[in-house]
């Protein structure tokens, strides 16, 4: 394993991790407030769709990003309303919006354009070299020659860490996932907090979808998130419901994916089908190993009733 191989591998790991990081951070906000984030996959898919349609119709990537946030939030608001006002089962609601997002994006892609899906081709966000830092040896090409949304993903992880552990709002959010009664007694409204948390999470997950359509491939295809939302969900658990932990977990999953395609080049006497399982086996192994020692937010999954 030479130097150039290692640098390329690690740079690819960060690139692949970007959509996972945003998905995981979105899920984390929701789960810390006490709502399971099973619907992340659907929110990411809606975000990928909103980003592509917004950028395609307006010609502006900024509009695409805005629509990604709106689309992710819209799917999330369905979850928010169902689980807080109607106290629906959080797991089932999450699964339902995943299916809804798949069907709805496929339908709208055709319905919005008169029945025939358009050929969407977008200019993708190119790499941005950070002055000085990008010319550092080793870390420069790995960390500082990435694209805009990848930097944004890491920045949001750091900001979320500060917000959760250094602000009063962060404390209230965490308390809502642990003991909503206490939050209520302190004069806050746990239902409102959960709604806002789920919707904010959807907005960030939507950006995660935008990474795929605006930064990676420049188009939208049906179901293009392809399970990345579930990998993000695993990263939340592996990262023990902390932003920096989830960030690290996503980078590990990214590295497993980047290694997987490169391993095939070594002519191992193993079928490609077996090698392709690597990222998921790793996720399972880490979950089984680390998952045992973790404690999820105490009140997660339980509907809160006033009084």
């Amino acid at each position: 394993m030479d130097y150039a191989f290692l640098v390329a591998l690690l740079a690819a790991s960060v690139r692949i991790a970007a959509p996972l990081i945003l998905g995981a951070l979105g899920g984390l906000i929701s789960e810390r407030a006490g709502v399971f984030a099973v619907g992340i996959e659907g929110m990411m898919l809606a975000g990928a769709f909103g980003a592509a349609i917004g950028a395609f119709v307006s010609g502006s990537p900024a509009v695409g990003l805005l629509l990604a946030v709106v689309a992710g939030s819209l799917i999330a608001s369905i979850v928010a309303i169902a689980v807080t006002i109607f106290r629906a089962d959080q797991m089932v609601t999450g699964l339902a919006v995943n299916i809804l997002a798949f069907g709805l994006t496929s339908f709208l892609l055709r319905g919005l354009f008169g029945g025939r899906a358009p050929s969407i081709r977008l200019h993708i966000f190119g790499a941005i070299d950070i002055p000085f830092l990008s010319s550092l040896p080793f870390v420069g090409p790995i960390l500082f020659r990435q694209s805009a949304l990848t930097y944004a993903a890491v920045a949001i992880a750091l900001l979320l860490h500060l917000a959760l552990y250094r602000t009063r709002a962060g404390l209230t959010l965490r308390a809502t996932g642990e003991n909503p009664e206490a939050v209520f007694a302190a004069g806050n409204n746990p239902i409102r907090i959960r709604q806002l948390a789920v919707i904010a999470g959807g907005a960030i997950a939507g950006l995660g979808g935008a990474v795929l359509s605006l930064q990676d491939v420049g188009t939208f295809t049906d179901g293009m998130t392809n399970g990345r939302g579930f990998l993000a969900l695993a990263a939340v658990i592996v990262g023990r419901w902390t932003p920096l932990g989830a960030l690290a977990a996503c980078l590990v999953f990214g590295a497993a994916s980047a290694l997987e395609v490169r391993l095939q080049g070594f002519n191992l006497p193993v079928s490609s089908y077996a090698i392709q399982m690597a990222p998921y086996l790793l996720a399972l192994a880490v979950l089984a190993g680390l998952g045992r020692g973790t404690r999820m937010p105490q009140a997660i999954g339980q509907a809160y009733r006033v009084g």
């Binding site: 798949f102 496929s106 491939v217 089908y273």
Partner: protein
């Protein structure tokens, strides 16, 4: 004249119901699309097509859909379903056969085993499997283009264009006959030009996942490949984005894909599913198709199966030196005259070097 009945959703178990729900949504979409089309001129019969992905993928499913458009123009009543999942294949085929469709086309080799299972139940229906690997019984046929010819041409082109002596290919579904045919021939073609050339093949797990295909292609570029081929569906766009980013050559599967990266797409292997399905439908109506494995190539009458196209009116990227173009075109003539037959075995499609 609503000839599109909605997709049936009468499954009994829970998970099948979720799939059916998804199918119903997509079938509703399909209905929307077809209702907008003009009325059929003559009545040839009823033909349905099932797609593994969506018809807007600018790749595999999009070219298959052109086949259905051609059948409709020829006077067939047409219907289709998109995103048919593996678990739903048998039910989807059976569904259309029960509704009296004369021709049910599964637009991927994956449909072959499903068609073999339901074929006997519906002797009046002809099942055609696009890119299948064999016929069965009296009414199940496979139709494909000659992957070895076009894989070989692409290997020759890639090796002649490569400056690094390294070329790559990103694919899905290792072990499928049409997949290893193209890859094995790509390797042979490249070695016929440069015996020392290194050809690295990477498989991804989903032919529709463009982001994953792009990463696989980037890993080949990191290794030093300067031509990347491949045979993917929606994911083909990922190969082309990667080639654009690293400014190397690649091939697409439709002239639409040239527009993604006009300087980097060398050419596209454009499959003529419209011609192949139309030819097969004529044969089926005459009762001559059942049980056959029809392979269309540069040396067959009716259709050449596929052709190399950069744009609707040119075959190669204008940046490719005329001498290389001439060499590839001469090779096409050799194939057309039957002067070269490529033999591949499953092992030729192995991943890696």
């Amino acid at each position: 004249m609503n000839k599109m009945a909605p997709q049936r959703t009468g499954s009994t178990n829970g998970s099948a119901r979720l799939c059916s729900l998804r199918r119903a949504v997509l079938a509703a979409v399909a209905g929307l699309a077809l209702a907008a089309g003009p009325a059929a001129a003559a009545d040839e019969g009823k033909a349905a097509m099932l797609f593994p992905g969506s018809i807007n993928d600018q790749s595999w499913n999009a070219v298959g859909y052109q086949g259905l458009v051609k059948l409709k123009a020829a006077g067939w009543d047409t219907a289709y379903s998109e995103n048919v999942q593996s678990a739903d294949e048998v039910e989807a085929l059976r569904d259309y056969a029960k509704r009296g469709f004369d021709l049910v086309i599964g637009h991927t080799g994956r449909f072959l085993s499903a068609a073999e299972r339901v074929g006997g139940e519906f002797p009046k229906t002809t099942f055609i499997v696009g890119s299948g690997s064999g016929g069965a019984g009296k009414n199940v046929a496979s139709v494909d283009f000659d992957n070895t010819q076009f894989g070989y041409l692409m290997g020759v082109l890639a090796a002649k264009l490569s400056k690094t002596g390294k070329i790559g290919s990103v694919n899905g579904l290792e072990g499928l006959p049409n997949v290893y045919s193209q890859i094995g021939a790509y390797r042979q073609g490249a070695r016929s030009v440069n015996p020392k050339i290194e050809v690295k093949v990477i498989y991804i797990k989903d032919m529709e996942d463009a982001a994953a295909a792009k990463e696989a292609a980037l890993s080949l570029a990191d290794w030093g490949a300067d031509f990347i081929s491949g045979k993917l569906n929606a994911a083909q766009a990922g190969i082309i984005q990667a080639a654009k980013e690293r400014n190397i050559y690649c091939n697409g599967r439709s002239t639409d894909q040239t527009a993604i990266a006009p300087t980097n797409v060398a050419t596209n292997i454009v499959e003529k599913w419209d011609e192949m399905y139309a030819a097969a439908a004529v044969e089926a109506k005459a009762g001559k198709l059942g049980g056959k494995y029809e392979l269309y190539g540069l040396d067959t009458p009716g259709s050449t199966g596929a052709s190399l196209k950069y744009s609707p009116d040119s075959a190669f990227n204008p940046a490719i030196p005329p001498a290389i173009v001439a060499d590839v075109e001469a090779l096409e003539k050799t194939f057309a005259a039957g002067g070269l037959k490529i033999k591949v075995v499953k092992e030729d499609g192995h991943g890696g070097l």
